[in-house]
């Protein structure tokens, strides 16, 4: 059975990847063309994604059998509501790329523009592939496309410092990828299949074994590393702070979500196997709560705005992990909605920070006093993002906090609700310092006092995204309604 | 016979791996790593995976080692203690 959806689905992944291959060709003579082509590809991908989401809305989940081989004999791509909910992530690329156009001026020599844009597209294609694939080994390969391009993007603009941050990221990332491959091998040896649904069904049919447990555990650990959950977060702050701002936005907003989507896959695999998930959930709850508090706590001590944003990512990933661990309907809804909402907020913040750094040349709070006087729009976007990331209403961040806290009480784990609500406020200590410095202090640096607003190609994405943070806060019901059926299905599969 | 071959090969693998870990001289470590890859090739050939064996010989022992040697040439030859 071929429908429009299943026909187009493979191209969703292929389009950005092929686009990436074309970028260096197109940019052979004029490096500026790379940016244009990349933007066009990102837009086309977004359009394709919206068609797919529309298809999903009208006729429910669908899948594509690649090469015409029905699962489990070939690779299956599945487009369900979880996959669909990651599609807006792709749309964020359409904001990051125009921002990069002018940002790269003076940041990166022209001959490296084409590789830079190609890496962005590869990252996008990998992310899309990762979220729609229904095949375990394909999951590994798409993850490697994302990871490899991310390592390089971290190092792209800096010298040794960036390379060192990237290498730390690479070493931990490679180990976690390897754990995934190992787990895939184990699962294949156990079931003889690579299709996610098939593996899950065959695991459920067989009696639970230590090998299955080991496979799920190593998958979980691997994805916790990718998601930078607190004690495994060491690679994140430097990498996200040192990368060029558009890259930081992509890494912090989108790439860490690979870990979250992966955790979801672990849950789907485990569904019905008879393996008790309570220990995993308990671990996730503790890790999530610790991450919320520690991420916030560590952020307080940072003077570098990007480093602070990186730590707040750790804190926010904590929300999501806590929500998954709580495993009650509301908590899961909140967690999944936060997968996108956090991306939106974090991209807004990093792009705004990038615009400020690009225009002034400074990146620490003490240097950036009074920047709002010269760049009021960007600073206002930053303020909206800050309010949103702390989870204050009426912004996108609040919706998720509300649902995860509600889920905590629903699961009779009120203590985690407290950790969530007050851990988040903790980080506001820092943001208040930032807002004070930006808005209510006189400039100390002549460059800041003479700064001008960023060019429109940088400013417009920031402003639109900031507005989206507010709109999604008021219209929080829309994403909730979209994710809810998927969560209900997942919980039914998990037997709850 | 086969069991003996397997056992010897596996012991050889572990021995080369430990040598890679212990070698102070990075070039020696890389060369040992190439050797390790070649032993692995033999094991795989023996286990009915000739495609993998050839690729491992060409890529694992060949390309990877060359890349390592190039980097060592650019950086430092020995591990500093």
């Amino acid at each position: 059975m071929t429908t429009l959806g299943s026909t187009l689905l493979p191209w969703l992944v292929a389009l950005p990847l092929v686009g990436a291959a074309l970028v260096p060709i197109v940019a052979r003579h004029d490096a500026r063309r790379a940016g244009g082509l990349t933007f066009a590809v990102a837009l086309a991908t977004t359009a394709l994604a919206s068609i797919l989401v529309a298809q999903l809305a009208s006729q429910g989940p669908f899948s594509a059998d690649l090469g015409g081989w029905t699962a489990p004999y070939g690779i299956e791509l599945r487009f369900d509501r979880f996959a669909a909910w990651t599609m807006p992530l792709a749309a964020l690329f359409a904001f990051v790329i125009p921002f990069s156009w002018r940002y790269l001026d003076g940041t990166l020599p022209r001959e490296r523009w084409a590789p830079f844009y190609a890496l962005l597209l590869l990252n996008l294609g990998g992310l899309l592939g990762f979220s729609v694939t229904g095949d375990l080994f394909n999951l590994f390969v798409t993850m490697e496309v994302v990871s490899l391009s991310s390592y390089a993007l971290v190092a792209v603009a800096g010298r040794g410092v960036a390379a060192w941050a990237a290498l730390k990221y690479l070493l931990l990332g490679a180990v976690s990828s390897l754990l995934v491959l190992f787990a895939v091998g184990l699962l294949f040896a156990l079931t003889g299949s690579l299709n996610l649904a098939d593996v899950s069904a065959r695991l459920a049919a067989a009696e639970p074994s230590g090998a299955a447990l080991l496979a799920l555990a190593s998958l979980a650990v691997a994805f916790l590393v990718k998601a930078a959950v607190f004690p495994l977060h060491v690679w994140l702050p430097d990498a996200h702070a040192i990368a060029p701002s558009p890259v930081s936005a992509v890494l912090s907003g989108l790439v860490v979500k690979v870990g979250i989507v992966g955790l979801l896959r672990v849950l789907q695999l485990a569904a019905g196997t008879g393996i008790a998930l309570e220990p995993l959930n308990a671990v996730l709850m503790v890790l999530g709560a610790t991450a919320i508090v520690m991420g916030a706590f560590l952020a307080i001590f940072q003077d570098d705005i990007k480093l602070m944003l990186a730590y707040s990512t750790i804190s926010n990933i904590g929300y999501i992990v806590l929500g998954i661990g709580l495993a009650s309907p509301f908590a899961l809804i909140g967690a999944f909605v936060h997968v996108f909402n956090h991306a939106l907020i974090k991209v807004t913040l990093f792009l705004a920070a990038g615009a400020i750094i690009h225009q002034t040349g400074y990146r620490t709070l003490s240097d950036l006093h009074g920047v709002a006087r010269r760049m009021p729009q960007t600073a206002a976007a930053m303020a909206i993002g800050a309010v949103s990331i702390v989870g204050l209403p009426p912004t996108a961040g609040f919706v998720c906090k509300w649902y995860i806290a509600l889920g905590a009480f629903e699961a009779d784990q009120g203590g985690y609700g407290f950790a969530l609500v007050f851990g988040a406020l903790f980080i506001f200590v820092y943001y208040v310092r930032m807002l004070d410095a930006f808005f209510f202090r006189a400039p100390v640096r002549p460059e800041v006092a003479a700064a001008v607003e960023a060019p429109w190609s940088m400013r417009a994405p920031v402003l639109v995204l900031a507005a989206a943070c507010l709109v999604l806060g008021v219209l929080g019901g829309i994403p909730i309604g979209f994710v809810e059926p998927a969560v209900v299905d997942l919980l039914a599969a998990l037997g709850r | 016979m086969s069991a003996v071959f397997d056992a010897v090969m596996l012991l050889l693998l572990i021995a080369t791996a430990v040598t890679v870990a212990r070698a102070r001289d990075l070039v020696a470590a890389v060369v040992t790593f190439g050797l390790y890859s070649l032993v692995l090739c033999l094991v795989w050939q023996h286990r009915g995976a000739p495609d993998v064996a050839i690729t491992e010989a060409a890529v694992g022992a060949g390309v990877t080692s060359v890349l390592f040697l190039l980097t060592i040439a650019k950086t430092a030859r020995s591990e500093r203690r």
């Binding site: 493979p10 191209w11 292929a14 990847l17 092929v18 990436a20 291959a21 074309l22 260096p24 052979r28 690649l66 090469g67 015409g68 489990p72 004999y73 690779i75 590789p115 890496l119 590869l122 294609g125 990998g126 080994f137 394909n138 390969v141 490697e144 496309v145 490899l148 391009s149 390089a152 792209v156 390379a163 184990l186 040896a189 156990l190 079931t191 003889g192 299949s193 690579l194 065959r202 074994s209 230590g210 447990l213 080991l214 496979a215 555990a217 | 495609d51 064996a53 050839i54 690729t55 060409a58 890529v59 390309v63 060359v66 890349l67 040697l69 190039l70 980097t71 040439a73 650019k74 500093r80």
Partner: protein, 245 residues
């Protein structure tokens, strides 16, 4: 650090051994690996794909999408290395550093013994032929696209080592380089499109006997693209890493 590493390694080892004990014994013909998906490939693989080397069949026909992404991965590696700033500034030698290996490249090429020079030049065509043979016979015997890529790449690297980077760089015309390095992903996209038009499935291969030649042609195109694209990428990776400091 060492203590931590030891403890970590022991914990990991214990966990893995316990987990692995739960696996079905390997080599058992009735094990899940040999009775489920794999069994079908062995039974119907040759008929369905027309490829006698079933590894190639799996790589290109049954799981072609994985191989597409594999090609993308190595392309990513190249783009990644090209995106990095070239390591130009060389700091003064650090304390206590005994030897730095001699540098290569035509600008400060180490003198190469005439024997090596002769051997490499003599061997180069043979290596190339071997690679092509491996490629061509890949769907019948062990070997295939990526193995050939590695071999051709190794040949280019050997030539580069001996003749210097300029010479090696000339092996790939500058204008064509951008196209050749993207050959893998592009060929996959084209074949995927062709397959889609012919069979309705992304990366589909026509199954009926009548289209046997076409199917074979599609496989060969993919193999050649992987080999050539891979070789160009490997050679470029080599040159990027060997760039003068």
């Amino acid at each position: 650090m060492k203590t931590f590493a030891l403890v970590l390694v022991l914990v990991v080892a214990a966990t893995m051994v316990i987990g692995i004990a739960g696996l079905p014994p390997h080599g058992d013909p009735d094990g899940p690996i040999h009775t489920h998906v794999g069994a079908r490939y062995l039974e119907r693989g040759v008929a369905e794909t027309g490829v006698r080397n079933l590894v190639t069949a799996v790589l290109l026909v049954y799981r072609g999408f994985d191989t597409f992404l594999e090609v993308v991965v190595i392309f990513t590696a190249l783009v990644a290395v090209l995106a990095l700033p070239s390591a130009t500034r060389r700091p003064p030698p650090a304390r206590g550093e005994s030897t730095a290996a001699p540098r290569r490249g035509s600008d400060d090429a180490v003198p190469v013994s005439p024997v090596v020079f002769f051997v490499v030049r003599l061997l180069a065509p043979f290596i190339a032929v071997f690679a092509l043979a491996s490629l061509y016979r890949g769907h019948v015997t062990p070997g295939g696209g990526f193995q050939s890529a590695a071999i051709i790449g190794a040949m280019m690297i050997a030539l580069g080592l001996v003749f210097g980077r300029e010479h090696a760089a000339r092996l790939v015309p500058h204008g064509a380089k951008a196209w050749l390095q993207a050959l893998g992903p592009l060929a996959f996209a084209i074949i995927a499109f062709v397959g889609w038009r012919l069979t309705g499935a992304f990366l589909g291969f026509p199954a009926d006997e009548a289209a046997h030649a076409l199917r074979e042609a599609m496989v060969v195109v993919l193999e050649v693209a992987i080999a050539v694209g891979g070789a160009v990428i490997l050679a470029q990776l080599f040159m990027a890493l060997d760039a003068p400091s």
